[in-house]
Amino acid sequence: MRRVAIGTVGLLALACAAVVLTAGCGSSGSGTAASPSAGSGRVVNITLWHGDTDYAAKADNVLVAQWNKANPDIHVTALYNGSNDYALQKTLTAIAGGKPPDITYLYGSWAANIVKSPKVVILNDMIAKDSSFNWNDFWPAERLAATVNGKIMGVPALVDNLAIVYNKKLFDRAGLSYPTAQWTWDDFRAAAKKLTIPAQKQFGWGYPADASEDTVWHWEAMLWDYNGDILTPDNKQAAFNSAQGDQALTMLGDMATVDHSIYIDTTNTKIQQTFNNGHIGMMVTGPWDLPSFPNVKFGVQVMPANHQTISGPDNWVILNNGAARVNASWTFIKWFTAAKQQMYYDLQTGALPTRQSQQQQPDFQTYLSKYPGTDLFVKNMGNAVKSRPTIPQYSKISTFLGQAIVSVMLGKSDAKTALDQAAQQTNALLAVPGS
């Protein structure tokens, strides 16, 4: 999830619907496509949907052309299917219409929604039988996000995480030393306060406050860093209204309403340019934002305290169009997501390595020097040890939390009241069986 999807919320209804519709028809061998593609000489045509544009689309096309040249028996067609924000809706519509693609790109946050469809190929057996695939080479956060109730529903396609990106010039001017890995949250808050100069419209920290998932996952990283959790381990109850949650949100609220050190963007469209124009000292953001800051000499540092961060991995999901095509898709996606191909893609786009072994690829150093700042984000992958709950209700829980966080930041509520209210809504939602 590079950018938070507009349409993520409430898509569970859609997913349920697709299940109902396809329940009767698609039972032929999900996950049982064991036999390797027989060398019968027949060409298997498969289709892959993606939402890449620009450099990313070019990289996709180069790789796919390379594959098609080397593998005459499996022909891959890569199709741009519009913005990724609509990918789940389009995929479900296609499943309902009986003509799904063989492989599609889906946000990690949709894993629990799409996995309800019997059309989704569960990969556990194939991964277990194929030692060359090396599932554990993917980062822990990626594996967690692709796993729903023990079922692996996709292959990691893209990954990111959050870290502190800071403006060196503003730190120098304030006489502050740059953030270190030893920082506590109090250090963070004190620095933000010192960086705030109201007369010059300068702020310590920029925070997206449109109550979307973007608002929420920034805070969830803080929550984890405070040793809190989103839900109880069985995913049955809210856990964010704990003492740790209260602490994390109180700090955010105090920075916003007492220190006034936060640039609060309720539209979530203005932080990047405001940082780039030198009005914000620190942002908590991911590698995708770095190209938007050409005017700033920036540094990158891990999160304060326990360094816990959050990651939003996305997946390639294989859909069942018969055993032959499932086999072909699996063969292709194994190659497509292998370290060498992935390294090529990352080199072209600046995306983070999805596999840990990419750090041994010959091009890795070229990649780091081509994209300054990404080295820390690569290292920071090791700090992404938790995953947001992979349950279909998450998108709704996110809207409850979004309202709670923004109401505290705007001084409309205190942390405890806001979190308790969100917890009440969350528990009511989770109590509905099968929702």
Binding site: G82, S83, Q200, N268, T269, Q272, N276, N277
Partner: protein
């Protein structure tokens, strides 16, 4: 619901102004004291958007604001044009507006003529049915229309924008009212001379109806050009978006800068503004005549 005859289309709208009666010792009319600030307030948003569009991104985000930039950055317009498919936006908007104007002129003329001059089986019932649809707000039909357009395979295409808007009931009413006001003798004479009904419509009725056809064209063009909700619902790919939706996509993208956003906004308003300035009287007359903005 609109009462479409507040003023006749045939009547020139000059706003025959009253003589200015100022108090004896005033050097100028006191009305200026009201109208100057008012005009400033009305023009300020547009002027400010033009100024911002010519500033650097850093100058745009300065406080106090840079009211008069020291240098003008016209390259912002190039950057804005290149950062999203603005060429597509303009083309799509133009296709959308042109096709719906053409469709409405043709289909509404045909139907309006039938309802004004021909007695055919079920015509009264059909006419009442049409009248009912005029009272229903767009929000009521939007979801089924979305499903119908999806069935037709027109989602995410300019065709999907155009097809549901090819013929509006409003246009039929507008034209029918006007046709009814035309003297019937000319048509009769032509009919006796053996002209077909189609020929009568195109050679006699429509040429006499130029003002009302222009009104319909202007209103429909403005409506399609500024339409937002319907494109928002069916278009997902930037290349297929018309201008207003494209502009909002531009605004929603996180990397947007105020100066570029204003450049895009100004660009998007130029065609309509130019047409308005060029044909101000027609616009005003059309609005006054039909009482419809959207």
């Amino acid at each position: 619901m609109a009462t479409p005859t507040l003023i006749g289309a045939d009547r020139p709208l000059d706003f025959e102004a009253l003589p200015d009666k100022r108090p004896r010792h005033w050097p100028f009319s006191p009305w200026h004291l009201f109208l100057i600030p008012l005009s400033a307030a009305m023009l300020l948003p547009l002027v400010w958007s033009v100024i911002t569009s010519l500033e650097t991104s850093a100058d745009a985000q300065r406080f106090p604001p840079v009211l008069l930039p020291s240098s003008l950055h016209f390259e912002n317009y190039v950057h804005a044009w290149n950062s999203l498919p603005f060429g597509h936006f303009f083309l799509n908007s133009f296709l959308y507006a042109a096709a719906t104007v053409a469709g409405n002129l043709l289909f509404c003329s045909l139907a309006a003529y039938a309802f004004a001059r021909l007695r055919f089986f079920g015509s009264n019932l059909v006419f009442v049915l049409l009248l009912v649809t005029l009272m229903v707000p767009f929000q009521v039909v939007i979801i089924p229309t979305f499903l119908i357009v999806r069935k037709l395979g027109l989602i995410d295409s300019v065709g999907g924008l155009i097809v549901p808007n090819l013929c509006g009931v409003f246009g039929i009413f507008l034209l029918r009212q006007f046709f009814l006001s035309l003297p019937v003798q000319l048509e009769e004479a032509a009919r006796i001379d053996g002209a077909s009904r189609l020929a009568i419509l195109f050679k006699i009725v429509l040429p006499l109806s130029a003002p009302v056809l222009a009104t319909l064209a202007i209103i429909q063009f403005m409506w399609s050009w500024n339409d937002f909700l319907w494109p928002l619902i069916i278009i997902t790919t930037p290349q297929h978006a018309p201008l207003q939706l494209g502009l909002s996509m531009f605004q929603g993208s996180h990397v947007t800068q105020w100066n570029l956003l204003m450049a895009g906004t100004v660009m998007s308003q130029i065609p309509m503004l130019a047409v308005f300035l060029f044909a101000q009287r027609w616009f005003i007359q059309s609005i006054a005549y039909t009482g419809i903005k959207q």
